[in-house]
Amino acid sequence: MFQKGLVPVDGSPYMPGLVAYAIAFAKKAGCSLTFVYVVNMPPTASASDIEKQKAASMKIPEECKGKAAGEGLSASSRIEVGSPAETIVNIAEREKFDLIIIASRGYSRLRRLIVGSVADQVMKLASCPVLVFR
């Protein structure tokens, strides 16, 4: 039913639960998983700051990929720069992912009350099905 699953990860305490669920789900569904970490930097950040942040964050999706690959799944990891929700939705659309598996909570637990969390925006804007892990 699903072929390509996109799993945004943020390194928050909620992440291990999400990754375990995504792996279990992908095994049943028979889909591949792509773990993506989005570096969200202020517009004033310099190119070298962004590069530093990318290098520092790379291990987050890579570890997830390792876990999934260890379970026999076809998995990949990547890092992107931009506004998280927009970036996630754009990748999914452009690269024809047919499922996004996302945690309902991440770092911005309190902020979501005011502006809405990343998951919130993703569920509204995505054109493919979104599996919200709680």
């Binding site: 919130d120 509204k124 099905p129 599996l131 919200v132």
Partner: protein, 106 residues
């Protein structure tokens, strides 16, 4: 399969609304969904409930009480703007469900 019949608030104070026609319509919606599911070879139990307000709260309660491990729900919403301003059943479910929620965009 679950369908929640939402009763409107009464137009006239003190005059209750007869829920029967709404519940009958709800039963037809549920039957159609069950039929579609069974045609695909998937047996479906039907749950029909009646409530006021946002159906999302009732759906969350059903999931809690019956111990469901996944909710599959449509994202429907007439427009992106209306969805953002009003919130939807899907919104309430995604924020309050006791289990993962699979949101399908029709």
């Amino acid at each position: 399969m679950v369908h929640v019949v939402i009763l409107p608030a009464s137009m006239e104070p003190g005059v209750p609304i007869d829920p029967t026609p709404l519940e009958q319509a709800g039963a037809r919606i549920l039957e159609a969904a069950q039929k579609t599911s069974e045609e695909e070879g998937c047996k479906a139990e039907g749950i029909l409930e009646t409530d006021f307000g946002n159906a999302g709260h009732r759906i969350v309660r059903i999931a809690q009480e019956k111990g469901f491990t996944l909710i599959v729900i449509g994202a429907r919403g007439k427009s992106k703007i209306a969805n953002l301003l009003l919130g939807s059943v899907c919104d309430v479910v995604a924020h309050n469900a006791p289990c993962p929620v699979l949101i399908v965009h029709p």
